[in-house]
Each structure stands twice: as structure tokens, then as C-alpha cells.
Symmetry: C2
Subunit: 198 residues, 2 copies
DNA sequence: TTGACAATAGTACGACCGTTCGTATTATTT
DNA sequence: AAATAATACGAACGGTCGTACTATTGTCAA
């Protein structure tokens, strides 16, 4: 790993933290450079434009999300355990203190839902990917016989993802101490309702 | 209504539209003034600071939300019809084209969930108000015997609100044509599960 | 050790930010 | 109609934004 790659990684780590609190637009090259003790121009040279920096931050965020939420869940046995792990890890990710300001991708998706362009395209792609992961895991649980065969997996995914999003609201903004319990209860309820009668 | 009050209202209307697409931070006095054909300083004098402008925008947004979502729902007979109307109106509000960029309060709550200050305080208050409205209507439906007496109304509100939030994601960013159906199905499912067996 | 190139710093730019000020214009009241 | 308050304007302030160029430093293979 060359020196350039190392600094680039350090930049992205710091940028990710800043983005999680200030958003992709609030992320600023000047203060980012200050916080890293380097010059604006030196930092800038790594990316070429702010937009490319934003894209890199998003990709780094998706990597982190995949490492924290998706991959550990995929390590679970297929079927219900995997679906549950997905939601549980997602809830834990929202509460994670690694990123001081919560999931940057969720913030970005509201920030950019009316600003067409390459960044919006990237966010849409990432969200669709995540949706596919949830749907895939759910469909697998149906195949395994854990969930009803007539379950609408898209509806299921919509509700599960909505709960994870709503949790952010209650936990991060409202700081409601019951938020975590509500989210877990809701997710387990969703899964239970999809179960096969036995 | 004096002239000042009239322009102030016109400013807030335009500001609300801009905020819904660009966020409270992206809202800019200069371009707002341009769009209204008036000078920066003339506009500025109406509010005294950008922060007070932001607060005024949020309050205007809450008024609009109350007029569009809450009041029509309260006009419904108490109990289940009112609860359902609340969610239906909320879904319609998200799809509304009056505000080009979706609910500004939802956007602001993610934008400011890590920026303490008077604006965050105001957003929290607004969200708590809305939560109270949902909980109140739900509790009333329990009293009327429409919903189970052992229903956890807070849990119910959390799930309903989460669904409305998740709907924004699917509808506005991902532009999924099934989003509306998913949201309606989910909300009706939530309500049905809370029903009294009869 | 030197030469080539990657990495960083330095400086400058035009544009826009929120804000202030003095002044002109328009409404409202007396 | 005169007096006063409300409203709006234009110009300017100090800052920060992203970006462009040039110069300097650091790294690492030959």
C-alpha cells in the first residue's frame, strides 16, 4: 500500500465521520483538510473534484455497511436466522458510535432525492442493492420453508427497511430510550407474521 | 394584512419550496431573494438572521402539514377512521406536488439530528407533537373499542410513523411505482393487527 | 546516489455566503 | 397634507467555498 493510498484512506475515514454529521453537501474540503493537518490543495489532488470526493465517501460508507451489516448476516445460516441478523445488524449499525452522526447513506438519500446527477444515481444504486439483499435473504427463507410460500417478499422488505429507517428517527433525533425496543419488537413481529404455521 | 405580512408570507412560501428540495442548510438568502425578485437585504430585514428564517420556514411547514394531514383526519369520526385517515393523509402528503421536494420536516430532522441548537430543538418539538397526535388518536380508538385494549399504543405509533418515513424513501428517491401500494398495505396491516377480535 | 515521478504545499481566483449600513421609497397614521 | 413608521434597496464587509495553477518536498527503483 503506497503512501498515497494510505493518505487517501485516512482522508476518507475522516470525511466519512464529517459526512455522517454534516451531510455530503456540508462536507467541506477546507475543514476536512484542517482536521487532517494537511493543505486544501494537497487533499484536493487526491480526488480532482468535490463530486468525486463525495462519490468516494459514499463508496467507503457502503463498504463499511457491507462489513458491519451484510457480511456478518450472510455468515448466518440461510433462512430466518439470516433475515433476522440483517435487521438486527442494521439496528446496531444505526446505534454504532464509529460514525458519530448515523448512517451517511440514509442522510444522503434524503439530501439528494431531488438533485439528479451522478451522486443521486450512485445512492439509488446502493439503496437498490440493499433492497435486493433483503429480498434475496427473505426469498431464501421462503425456499427453506421458514417463511410462508405466499409471502410477498417485496412487501416484507419494504416494511423491514422502513422500520430500520424509522428507528434512526426515534433513536438519533428524538433520543427516545424505548426506540431500540420498539424497533426490535417491530422487526420480530414482522418476521413472526411471515412464519409458516406449524 | 399589512404589506410586510404579505411579503413575509410570499417569502416563506418560496422558501418552503426551496427547502423541500435543498434542505434548510441549502436554503440561501441570495437565491431566495433572486427568485422573488427582491434584494437580499430587503428580504433579510424580515427575519434578522438566517436561523430565524429557518425557524419560520419550519413553522410554516408544520402549519401546512397540520392543514393537509392532521386537521382533515381530526374531522373524521374518532376511533379507527381517524387513525386510518392520519396515515392515508400522510402518505398523500408525501406524494403531494405542492412541495416539489417532499416533506421539509423529515429532511430537516435528518439534517439536524447531530447539530444541537434552537433549530434542532424546534424539529424535535414538532416531531414529538406529531407522535403525540398519532398516539392520541390510537388511544382514542382503543377507548372506542376499535382496537385491542392491550395494544401498545407507543409501539403502534412507532411502526406507523416508520412506515410513513420509509415510504418517502421508496417513493421519492427510488421512484418505485409499487411504493404507494406497499405503504397502504402495510398501514392497513398494522391497523388490522390492532383490531379487536369480534 | 541520482533521476523520475508521486505527493503535498503554496498562492491566487472568482463566486457566493450571511450580515451590516446608510439611504430611498412607500404606507400608514395624525 | 404633514409626520412618522414600515419596507426595500444598493453597496460593501469579512469569510469560505471549490478549483486552478505552480512550486516544493518526499519516495523509491535503477
Amino acid at each position: 500500500m503506497s503512501k498515497g493510498e494510505r493518505t487517501r484512506a485516512a482522508i476518507l475515514d475522516q470525511a466519512l465521520a464529517m459526512t455522517s454529521t454534516d451531510g455530503l453537501t456540508g462536507l467541506t474540503i477546507g475543514t476536512l483538510a484542517d482536521r487532517l493537518g494537511m493543505s486544501k490543495s494537497g487533499l484536493f489532488a487526491h480526488f480532482g473534484s468535490k463530486e468525486q470526493l463525495q462519490a468516494a465517501v459514499l463508496e467507503r460508507a457502503a463498504e463499511l455497511f457491507a462489513d458491519t451489516v451484510v457480511r456478518p448476516a450472510l455468515a448466518q445460516p440461510r433462512g430466518l436466522p439470516r433475515v433476522l441478523a440483517l435487521f438486527e445488524n442494521w439496528i446496531a449499525w444505526t446505534m454504532d458510535t464509529v460514525l458519530p452522526g448515523g448512517c451517511p447513506i440514509q442522510a444522503a438519500s434524503i439530501e439528494f432525492d431531488d438533485r439528479p446527477g451522478p451522486i443521486q444515481d450512485l445512492i439509488v444504486k446502493q439503496q437498490e442493492d440493499m433492497r435486493r439483499v433483503v429480498i434475496g435473504a427473505t426469498r431464501r427463507a421462503v425456499e427453506e420453508g421458514h417463511l410462508r410460500s405466499d409471502l410477498d417478499v417485496e412487501q416484507f422488505a419494504f416494511e423491514g427497511i422502513s422500520l430500520c429507517y424509522g428507528f434512526t428517527q426515534s433513536y438519533r433525533l428524538l433520543k427516545n430510550p424505548k426506540a431500540e425496543m420498539w424497533a426490535r419488537t417491530a422487526v420480530h413481529g414482522l418476521v413472526d407474521r411471515g412464519r409458516n404455521r406449524q
